[in-house]
């Protein structure tokens, strides 16, 4: 036996059960049984039993999972298929068998170098929004927002400044470790996470907020699981939760414009299904537009992944885009003019897919929507 008892138990349950095929966004995009949770369990089970060896083919399939956990959500008994993929990847990495794309990506993450090819508008951002020093609120943008979608960081700055918040960002954020963890580098993930937690605590913020759903889960759920307790004394919020609180306190004041209605909301897997944050983004949309967002047919806990999970858009971009196309088709089914999400990774892949499909749907991060409607915008004192 290669895997621990818990993994073996899940393998036994899932390897011959066909019941979550419909839940797997990768299967729905590729139609391959090897891309289903059952397929993953079957392939890993054969390795566990010594009936197969890892091959380039099987390794490829194990990395074609966005770890969105919809299979687990829709399983009547909540078997943790995502844990099986995680265990499989850790075994692949421990044997040095990971694909070159994964290896290269991991190296960048460990070295705190950008994983995105073109750091767009980075320099402008440095001037516009990045501030260091002592602060009440530390805003963690996450790499995708910082390098690929700085408009999200800029919008966040507008919103925070409108409330007169004393906030800052880290000079060089780096990875939270969650990407490394999901790729199977659990040891390296903990090291990176520990380093980041230390740098955060050097600033001594009382509140840590992030607009990245992956980072939010890392700080709030994974760090304690990994024994990283440095952040225990500070409040950790996803930006949507933070803004809802501020709105209820009367600190965040938003103008309402019904003309902005007709937007759909896509639940990021990490924020919704994994962390249970469903209402805060919806309530913010309602506050700004006067109406709740249009719901995609599969929403909240049953929302399908957009394809960006588990950095699949970097390791398997073709598959990720196929997954994203299906999600964008769901948006089109609702005749929505725009789709709002609450994770820069979701925005990143949906906006690219929208362009590929010529669907004409505007893709926005929720903070951009909020920034357009804040009242009492403050001058940014750092500019």
């Amino acid at each position: 036996m290669v895997f621990d008892q818990k993994t073996t138990e899940i393998l036994k349950m899932c390897r011959c059960c066909f019941m979550c095929r419909h839940a797997c966004p990768v299967f729905l995009a590729t139609k391959l049984d090897a891309d289903t949770p059952r397929g993953h369990a079957l392939l890993i089970s054969r390795i566990d039993q010594g009936l197969s060896e890892w091959t380039e083919d099987t390794i490829d399939k194990i990395y074609r999972c966005s770890q969105c956990s919809l299979c687990k959500e829709l399983c009547e008994f909540k078997w943790g298929e995502d844990l099986v993929v995680q265990a499989g990847r850790e075994n692949i990495v421990s044997g040095g068998r990971e694909p070159e794309a994964v290896k290269n990506l991991a190296r960048l993450l460990i070295d705190r170098r950008p994983v995105h090819n073109k750091p767009a508008k980075e320099q402008k951002l440095q001037r516009a929004a990045v501030r260091g020093g002592q602060t009440d609120v530390l805003y963690f943008a996450g790499e995708t927002a910082f390098y690929k979608h700085p408009e999200i960081v800029e919008a966040t700055a507008v919103v925070l400044d409108s409330m007169g918040i004393n906030w800052a960002m880290l000079e060089n954020e780096g990875s939270t470790g969650v990407e490394l963890f999901e790729l199977g580098y659990s040891g390296e993930a903990r090291k990176v996470a520990g380093d980041l937690a230390g740098r955060i605590m050097d600033i001594h913020p009382s509140i840590l907020i992030t607009g990245c759903a992956h980072a939010y889960r890392a700080f709030k759920e994974l760090y304690p699981q990994w024994g990283i307790d440095a952040l225990q004394g500070i409040q950790i919020h996803h930006i949507t939760e933070y803004l809802i609180n501020k709105m209820s306190e009367g600190v965040l004041r938003l103008a309402q414009d019904p003309a902005l209605s007709g937007v759909a909301y896509h639940d990021p897997c990490q924020l919704g299904r994994k962390m249970g944050v469903y209402d805060a983004p919806r309530n913010l949309i309602k506050a700004v537009t006067g109406n709740p967002p249009a719901e995609l047919f599969h929403n909240r806990g049953e929302a399908e992944c957009c394809g960006s999970g588990s950095v699949m858009y970097l390791t398997n971009p073709d598959t990720a885009i196929k997954v994203a196309r299906r999600r964008m088709e769901s948006v089109l089914q609702e005749s929505a003019k725009s789709v709002i999400t609450a994770c820069p990774n979701c925005k990143n892949i949906l906006i690219k897919t929208d362009a590929d499909m010529h669907s004409g749907v505007k893709v926005l991060d929720i903070v951009e929507l909020i920034a357009s409607q804040v009242k009492g915008k403050c001058e940014d004192k750092s500019r």
């Binding site: 036994k12 349950m13 899932c14 011959c16 059960c17 066909f18 019941m19 979550c20 095929r21 419909h22 839940a23 139609k31 391959l32 049984d33 090897a34 289903t36 059952r38 397929g39 079957l42 392939l43 089970s45 054969r46 039993q49 009936l51 197969s52 091959t55 083919d57 099987t58 490829d60 399939k61 399983c75 009547e76 008994f77 078997w79 047919f297």
Partner: protein, 487 residues
């Protein structure tokens, strides 16, 4: 096109010319994953590490033109073709036991047209039933087909096995749900049955392909009935004194003209489990659950009349709470920890159907065949009756042996002996080889017994006329050499 001898590689190259390079898959991972269905023998063999017969390629056509070209090509070169939907059957029907190619239909998954006036929907065969139902529900309709593998299986697979869902007592089997079929025949021509299934324009030839398990062609388009979503559902649950009284109650309900969508009646062994697990009570007898759906007034009237019929049989009413739980959780029991799938226990379902005058004898003969014939192995038999018609009902029995023989040959021999004894007991007493799980490889050797040798000749003649090269799903439905491959 000239016939040529293909290596696996040259075959794949030719297939890519037909369906495109992205639609020809020869990854071992996919072949392994498609090599296992829910049949006990498949799972048993796979986890022993046995080498499986494998297809040379798995092909994903995207339209009927590609299917026709594929089949024509394979017919010319005498290459076996195994059509595949969800692959979640329990009889080996989609296993490529003769090599060749698997034609996976799941990329043909579009809803082509819904007709809200005639209440029909035209669909490609590879759509998952779950997705078709979602499509219909969004528009206020349902297909009323809810089998165990609802989430994972394709409509084409259900048609090819003439499957049945839990609402069959009112809405029937697939054969009752289909108006029209389009099928690519083994020579590559495309056959389309008439657009309606009530006519006197010759036989309804769509019936030839419903339940044919892909042995006569590949279904490429299906026109199905749809229904408005029901206004109301209602359930009754009763504990009846014994099996005989329960069957008679069921018969009376169906013969009275009532239309229960659900009627599930459990034998004493199953009833014991239900009472203990769902009602936390001890008791003897047989559990009956009846459900109605549709317009509120009709549901109310039918529920009242059914209540009267059941009450006359001195049933003990158990309320509707557990029945509602059953309905809401109707697919839950098919998820792990489902012992039948997760454990190496020897199991099989041996569902059959018979007219009312024979059904009790069929049940008792099957039970005796398993428990008296194989009691020394600890064989346990239990059954329920879940698909009721005005002329008879199905029996859904299962047998299980937890202590499977360690020796492979002995295990295979025992499995086939139990299966044969059980099914032949059904046939001798008026039942058929199978009611809704189909034949595949599992029951192929018994189909001659079911039809009789002379009648089976007609089936062979039809097969030979349509598929003289025996390329379509060879070895299945008792039409071929599946046994020779160790199944």
């Amino acid at each position: 096109m000239r016939k040529k001898d293909h290596s696996a590689e040259s075959l794949r190259d030719d297939l890519k010319k037909i369906v495109g390079p992205d639609n020809v898959v020869a990854d071992q991972s996919e072949i392994d994953c498609q090599g296992v269905d829910v049949w006990w023998i498949t799972r048993y063999r796979m986890f022993r590490g046995d080498d499986f017969p494998q297809p040379l390629a798995i092909v994903f056509p995207e339209d009927k033109g590609q299917v026709a070209a594929l089949v024509k090509f394979c017919n010319l070169h005498k290459i076996p073709v195994v059509p595949r939907g969800g692959g979640a059957g329990d009889s080996g029907g989609s296993l490529a036991v003769s090599g060749g190619i698997t034609v996976d239909t799941k990329k043909m998954d579009r809803v082509l047209k819904i007709n809200e006036k005639s209440l029909t929907v035209r669909v490609q065969p590879g759509i998952l039933q779950k997705h078709l139902e979602e499509y219909l529900n969004r528009r206020g309709y349902t297909m009323n087909h809810f089998p165990a593998s609802f989430h994972t299986s394709t409509l084409g697979g259900f048609v090819s096995t003439n499957g049945t869902g839990v609402l069959s007592s009112k809405y029937g089997k697939l054969t009752d749900m289909v108006h029209q079929l389009e099928v690519v025949l083994p020579d590559g021509t495309i056959f389309k049955s008439l657009p309606v299934n009530r006519h006197s324009t010759g036989p309804d030839f769509s019936k030839l392909f419903i339940g044919a398990e892909g042995t006569l062609g590949i279904i490429t388009e299906i026109l199905c009935k749809i229904y408005p979503l029901p206004e109301k559902r209602a359930f009754l649950s009763f504990l009846l004194p014994n099996l005989r009284d329960g069957i008679e109650v069921g018969r009376k309900i169906m013969a009275s003209g009532l239309q229960p969508c659900i009627m599930r009646f459990y034998d004493e062994r199953d009833t014991g489990h239900i009472l203990k697990n769902q009602y936390d009570m001890e008791g003897t007898g047989c559990f009956l659950m009846v459900g109605f759906d549709g317009l509120k007034e009709m549901v109310d009237v039918q529920t009242r009349l059914a209540h009267e019929i059941i009450s006359q049989a001195e049933g003990t009413e158990l309320g509707d709470k557990q029945a509602w739980n059953w309905w809401n959780d109707r697919l839950k029991s098919y998820y792990p920890p489902l012992d039948y799938v997760c454990e190496p226990w020897m199991t099989a379902v041996t569902d059959t159907v018979a007219p009312y005058e024979d059904i009790e004898n069929v049940y008792r003969a099957m039970k005796s065949a398993v428990e008296d014939g194989f009691g020394k192995y600890g064989a346990v038999f239990h059954a329920h009756f879940s698909h009721w018609y005005d002329w008879g009902t199905s029996i859904y029995p299962s047998f299980m042996i937890k202590d499977t023989p360690g020796d492979y040959a002995e295990a295979m021999k025992l499995y086939k002996e139990i299966l044969d004894a059980c099914i032949q007991a059904a046939i001798r007493n008026g039942g058929v080889v199978n009611e809704h799980h189909a034949i595949g490889l599992r029951l192929g050797r018994l189909i001659v017994d079911g039809y009789g040798r002379e009648s089976f000749e007609l089936i062979k003649t039809v097969k030979k006329a349509l598929d003289p090269n025996n390329i379509m799903n060879p070895g299945k439905l008792g039409l071929g050499e599946g046994e020779a491959n160790g199944f």
